[in-house]
Each structure stands twice: as C-alpha cells, then as structure tokens.
C-alpha cells in the first residue's frame, strides 16, 4: 500500500482512501482519523463521538474524536472489506528512545520555528505598511516614525520559541513506535460471543440494508435507535430490541416496553433473526385503547 501524504511512513496500513483503520482500545473499536469518520458515515455507520472537541474542550454538547463504534458497526465495516482492525501493545517500560526519530522530530520543530518566525515578521510588516497606507495624509513625523519601525523590524525582529505554535496530534502520526507494536487483528475477533450478540448483528445488518441509520439505544431501554435519515437532521422513529427467535418475553416486560415507547413517542420494534440466513422478522408495538 503506497503511503500517501506527509508523515506517513511506508508501512501505514490504512492509507487507502475508502478503508478505515479501526483501532481497538481495550476491546472497544475506535476511529481516530477525521477521514475515517467521514468514510464510515458515507457507508452509514454513525458511531458516537466521545473525546473532547479541539475547538472547545470544556463542554459536553459537541464532542470530538475518537468515534466509538458498536461491535456491530465495526463488524459490518470489516465484513464489507472497508476496515482494517488494529490493536497496539503498550510500550515496554525498558524501551529506549529512538535517536533517529528524535532527531527527525527536532528538525521538524526547528523547521517549523524558522518558517513561523518568518511568517510572523512578514505579518508585522504588513500591519505597519497598512497603517502607513492609511495615514498617507498624516504628518511627516509619524510617517518617519513608522519608517523607522519598519527598518527596525528588518534588523532586530525576534520571535521567541515559546510563541511558536505546535500541533497536538489527535490520531497517531505515522509510525512512531515501529511496526511491530501494531497488531493486525483478524476479523473474527469481532465475531459474536453468544446468541444475543448474533441476533443484534443480524438485525443491524438488515436495518442498515434497508437504509436506516442506527445508533445505540441503551438510554431508551432498547438495543438501537432507528433513524429514517442521518441522525444529524432527523429524529429517531423506532427503538429496536433484538431478541433471538425462541427467547420468551414476559408480559411485564412487554408492557414496560410499550409504556416506554408511548412516553418517548417512539415505536418499539421487536426484532428477531429468522430461520433463513438473511431473514429478520419485525413486530412493532403500539399502545392503544379498547374504545
């Protein structure tokens, strides 16, 4: 796979456009790169952002990367061949600094510093010139003062190192720790552990195929919230609850679910994978009177 762009070393696995790199943190699949989040959304995988937003980190209304994926979402992406599953091992405590990389980083910083200081100087000059142009009609003395300042800029401009702007990378930038510390996971690491998880995946896949968008529905007492369009613009219509076909549901639970759906104005959808491999059966609950 060819490396694209700057900073990516040759062995970066997921630099193909159209493929996302799903990185596992403990056992949760996460997407770190902005491009990956966008690609995933184009295939209908919404996920939940769970990090601080770079622009305003101290609020909870809008969060930033990483995007947390459901197991079903990661599995869907992997099955469609659009995802590479990665897991990193923690660095050994006896590891030593890699002098080559440190030198590279240092050079990068120095380069950035010199460029920024040039830019700062040009910026200041531009400001002075603009002031001069505005004061064309002004007195000679102020004009002279400005000329002097311009000259002073050329000779004695200082840009302190602490004023340099530095980027704090969100996603891992290239291969700073060597390829042996990234492990490629096989797709069956996402395979379902029990019948319920299998039911969830089947339902997810089917609903996705029908064009619905799905997000997590724990707060509403169900497995998924089903949206008719992109969750950014539309409200959810259904609360999907996934059950294996032969699992018994007591009447109390049924009543509780209906009541819940009525209270939040969403329809409760009981979903079960059928006998056929691609078949999923749906039952919706509506609370109505006997009048």
């Amino acid at each position: 796979m060819a490396a694209a762009g700057r900073g990516d070393a040759g062995a970066d696995p997921a630099s193909n456009p159209g493929t996302v790199a799903v990185c596992f943190c403990e056992s949760t699949p996460l997407l770190w790169r902005a491009g990956d989040v966008r690609t995933a959304r184009q295939t209908g995988v919404v996920g939940t952002l769970m990090g601080s937003l770079a622009r305003q980190p101290r609020q909870n209304c809008r969060l930033g990367r990483p995007l947390e994926l459901l197991r079903e979402e990661a599995r869907l992406l992997a099955d469609a061949g659009r995802a590479v599953l990665l897991s990193s091992s923690r660095p050994k405590s006896t590891g030593a600094a890699n002098p080559e990389l440190v030198k590279q980083h240092q050079e990068q910083m120095d380069q950035s510093y010199s460029e920024q200081s040039q830019l700062a100087q040009q910026d200041k000059k531009a400001v002075l010139l603009r002031v001069m142009a505005d004061k064309k009609q002004g007195s000679n003395q102020s004009d002279q003062a400005l000329q002097e300042r311009l000259l002073a800029l050329d000779h004695g401009f200082t840009f302190p190192r602490t004023a340099m702007a530095v980027q704090l990378n969100t996603a891992r930038a290239g291969m700073s720790y060597g390829p042996e510390e990234l492990r490629f996971l096989a797709a069956d690491s996402l395979s379902p552990r029990d019948e319920r998880q299998e039911a969830r995946y089947r339902v997810f896949r089917d609903l996705r195929r029908r064009g619905f968008y799905l997000t997590t529905g724990g707060k509403f007492g169900g497995d998924y919230l089903v949206y008719p369009g992109d969750p950014l613009r539309f409200h959810a219509h259904f609360i999907a609850i996934c059950l294996p076909m032969d699992e018994a549901l007591s009447l109390c639970d049924l009543l509780a679910l209906s009541r819940l759906g009525a209270n939040v104005k969403k329809t409760v959808l009981l979903c079960s994978p059928g006998a056929e491999p691609e078949e999923v059966l749906y039952t919706s609950l509506q609370w109505s009177g006997m009048v």
Binding site: R6, A9, R38, A165, A173, G174, G218, R233, F234
Partner: protein, 513 residues
C-alpha cells in the same frame, strides 16, 4: 521507512494526513473558538432538495469541527513525561491552573495520574512525551488506559464530569471514616502532602509485634477495639493489683503462635501476672494484663508502683505514687439517708439480683430466663383471661402494655422498617462492583484543597447496560463502603452516559412518636 518531508505544504483535500504545515499552524492562532448552534431536526425525509442541502450543510459543519486539530502556543503547554513503570506522568515544567484540583507531589516532583494527564492533553494544556517524542491523543488513550489504571468506560465518565466542571478524584477506601469515627466526630486528618497515593490509614503501633501470621487485621482491630474498649476499662474490684482475667473478657479468639512476648502494662510491685502462653491472644493490646486498680475499695494499696521506664518518653522517670493525699480527696463519708430514702434503696435501687434465693438456685442462663418468664406470667395472670391467651391464636397486644399509638403500630407491624445500611457491615466485596471516583461540586473549586478535600458530593460506580443491574447486596455493600456519601451509578452505553442513584426511603407512618 520513507523519509518524511516536512516542508511540503499539504493540500487540504488529502484527509489522510492530518499534520499541519507551519503556515497552517501560524494561521491557526486566529481561529474562531465558537461552536455553531445546531438547527431544529426534521421529522421525515421527503427527498426534497432543501432537505438535502440542509443535510449537506450540517455535515460540512460537522466535518470541519471534528477535523480541526489542536494547536497551542509552545509557551502555554506544560511539558510532561510518561513513566510506564509507575503509570504516572511527571511534569517537567511548572504546572498551571489545573494544579489546584489535579495532580499530586512526590519526592519534590509534580505528578499527574494517567486519567488526569489524558484529560489535560485533550484540553490542550499539557504535552506528554515518551522517550523524547510527543504522544498523540490516540497513543495516550492506548497507553494510559488499562485495567491497572482506569479503563475506557471509567475515563469516559471522568472526562464527562471534568468537562462540566466537577472535581473528580480516585476513590480511596482508607479515607472513608468508619461509622464509629463519625460518631466521635473527630477533626479531619491534616495531611500536609500528597493525596490518594500517599494517604493510607496508619497501622496501629501495637501491630509491630513480631508475630507474622494470623491475627486480626490492624484496621478492623482498631474499629472493634475502639468499640469494646469501654467495656474493658472496667476497674477491677476486690484486691487491687492482682488481676485474674476472666474468660468473658476475651472477645477475639485468634490463634497466635505461642512465642509472643507478653507485655506488662503497669508493673505491680512484685505481683506476678498469670502466664498462659497457650491461651490464645490477639495481636496488639493484651487486655487482660492491663489492670486499673480500684482505689475506692476498702482495702487498697497505700501506694502505686512506679511505671516501667521503657514505657515513658525520653528520659523521664516517675517515682512511686502515694495514694494517701488522693484518697483524702475522695469523699469517703458514709451517707446519711432518711428513713424513706433507705426504704426506697432497699426496695428499688440497690437490690442485688443475687440476693434472691430462687435466682441463686438457677444453674444456667436458660433456667434464669425460665424463672423470669414464670414470674412475669404469674404477675400478668390476673389480666389475661384464659380463653384469649391459652388458645392457639393469641392477641398481639396486652391491654395496658403499650400506651402510645406509635408503640402499638410498632408492635403489630408485620414488616419492620429497615434501612439501606442494615446488615451491610459484614458483607464481602462483590465481584466487579467497586466505587471508582469521588466527585466534588464545581462551585467549591475556588476553595478546594487537595490535601483536605472534605466530604465529596457523591461517589461514582461505573458500569454498563450490558452488565447486570446492581442487586440489594451490591447496593448495601457499596453504601457501606461509601460511608455517609450517596453512591451514584454512572452507566456507560457506547459513549452515552446516564446517572442513576438509589435513595433510602422511609414509608410515612400515620402517627408521630
């Protein structure tokens, strides 16, 4: 590995490289810090162009927000270094404003816990290095979060609350005062340095006895020792000095190897304390050997022997204590009571239960109970008609026995009131349920002191919807661990967090008593 070429400026349509060029970094200084408000959502997609357009606009806004990278001035960043072996970040430059509520000092260095460091990295306040290379947020997540530190779900709750302004710190069981300590209402410990990592309950000094195995743990001994100390400090009556410790004084029967040296507290002049190394002794204070002479008794020693100099601080030495002047201060005059008072004493107050002949005939507690029951029955017989009380079904109450309505309700109640902490003391730790964090309110941040944070607003237990709902046993155990601070359950559902708490509730009764 391909050489990285850093001076080529990257075109913005290449999403796979997120590194900013120096010109972009410079331009980022004047970035806006405002977040655009989200518009109203629509109900149904109708395929119209207008909806499509609005969706595109929302999406573009969304992408621009989340693809923004953090850019900070180098002078505003605090430099830190990750130490994998100790799971802490040590600060290499002085800490900023966050030091008021986060971090701790050790050996003169400023340290941050991994979740605090990760949160500060996300805020753009701290840049953490490992092997002289800066860590990205992704690497921070992958390295700092683990089973030994905090896991991803706990970190989600932590950062959620921190973003709202709360002060969140790790829960340390040993800082919770026990019920007895709260009753005593002691002033809080003044710990000059450090926080959770340093503050552990100190072992009682007597735990330095050389026996290694067995024995009651120091903590519980303190607790139980405190509660039973009042019983043990009974002055011995009879002959002073010599004490024959009764078997009933022994509360804990803990096997301890018999090589334990016996301490003598308050060495008597020449008195020999019974040596019984085979009798089980508990670790710590040897209660039977502590004698408190009864100085008010008729035959008491004229003088108390000097204490063992090894027990005194420094080079203090104390001589023999003469009792004569002290006894003179005791009021030993015989009481002169009126006839009526004497009568009352004889009948009510000073009647020794052992004077009763029938009681002396009892050979065991069971017989004594039987005797009392018989006497009670005899007295009550005048009020208890046989047809009511001798049948299979008897009345619940005896008339005249209870006078207030509340009393009556109590007596006839079938289900007794219980509180959450009933029976909670003896429960062992449940699998998987533990309190993770202490939470303090945001408006206390101005006066918050890390060394004495005070009582938290709540304590958090992090769980998920995939796990079981906490049952009564777990609730009791966690409420007991938390002391008098309510426990809140933070349920994490793939990025969404909900908070639940269980409140103790008393059913109202109709009468006030």
């Amino acid at each position: 590995m391909a050489e990285s070429n850093t001076s080529v400026s990257c075109s913005s349509d290449n999403f796979y490289s997120e590194l900013l060029s120096p010109s972009e970094l410079f331009a980022a200084r004047s970035r806006s810090h405002k977040i655009p408000a989200r518009g109203q959502k629509e109900f149904l997609p109708d395929g119209s162009a207008r909806q499509r357009e609005r969706l595109q606009q929302s999406l573009e806004e969304h992408w621009s927000l989340i693809s923004e990278e953090r850019v900070e001035r180098l002078g505003a960043l605090v430099k830190g270094e990750w130490i994998p072996s100790k799971n802490v970040v040590v600060l290499k430059s002085p800490a900023g404003k966050f030091w008021q509520t986060m971090g701790f000092s050790e050996h003169g260095k400023q340290l941050l816990l991994p979740e605090e460091a990760l949160y500060l990295m996300e805020c753009g306040s701290v840049q953490v290095f490992l092997h002289d290379l800066p860590l990205s947020i992704q690497e921070g997540y992958e390295m700092f979060l683990s089973k030994d530190t905090v896991n991803l779900q706990q970190y989600q709750v932590f950062s959620h609350l921190k973003r709202l302004g709360y002060v969140v710190s790790r829960f340390d069981r040993s800082t919770v005062p026990s019920h007895y300590e709260r009753q005593l209402n002691l002033p809080p410990e003044r710990d000059g340095h450090g926080r959770q990592l340093k503050r552990k309950r100190s072992r009682s000094p007597s735990s330095q006895l050389p026996d290694g195995q067995g024995g009651v743990a120091g903590e519980s001994l303190e607790m139980r020792g405190g509660e039973t100390k009042s019983q043990r400090a009974n002055p011995e009556d009879g002959a002073a000095g010599l004490s024959e410790p009764e078997a009933e004084r022994m509360v804990e029967d803990v096997p301890v190897p018999s090589g334990v040296p016996e301490r003598r507290w308050w060495v008597e002049g020449g008195a020999d304390l019974p040596q019984s190394p085979t009798r089980p002794r508990h670790r710590g204070w040897v209660w039977e050997t502590i004698t408190l002479p009864d100085l008010g008794a008729h035959r008491c020693q004229p003088a108390l022997a000097a204490p063992d100099p090894s027990l005194l601080p420094g080079r203090l030495s104390v001589g023999v204590c003469a009792m004569e002047p002290w006894l003179r201060r005791l009021n030993l005059r015989p009481e002169r009571l009126s006839r009526r008072e004497r009568e009352r004493e004889r009948s009510r107050y000073r009647r020794d239960v052992n004077d009763d002949r029938e009681v002396r005939h009892c050979r065991s507690w069971a017989e004594y109970h039987e005797l009392r029951r018989r006497r009670r029955n005899r007295h009550g017989r005048r009020n208890r008609p046989e047809h009511l009380w001798e049948g299979k079904v008897t009345p619940l109450l005896q008339p005249g026995q209870h006078t207030t309505a509340g009393d009556v309700l109590d007596k006839i109640g079938v289900v007794g009131a219980s509180r959450l902490l009933d029976g909670a003391a003896g429960l062992e730790d449940s699998e998987g349920w533990k309190i993770s964090f202490d939470v303090f309110q945001p408006d206390t941040v101005a006066e918050f002191k890390k060394s004495s944070p005070g009582k938290p607003y709540s304590r958090l237990c992090v769980c998920s919807f995939e796990g079981p709902v906490p049952d009564l046993r777990v609730l009791k155990q966690l409420a007991f661990q938390s002391g008098d601070v309510p426990v809140t359950f933070a349920v994490v559902d793939h990025g969404d967090i909900s908070f639940y708490c269980f409140k103790d509730f008393q059913l109202p009764t109709d009468t006030s008593h």
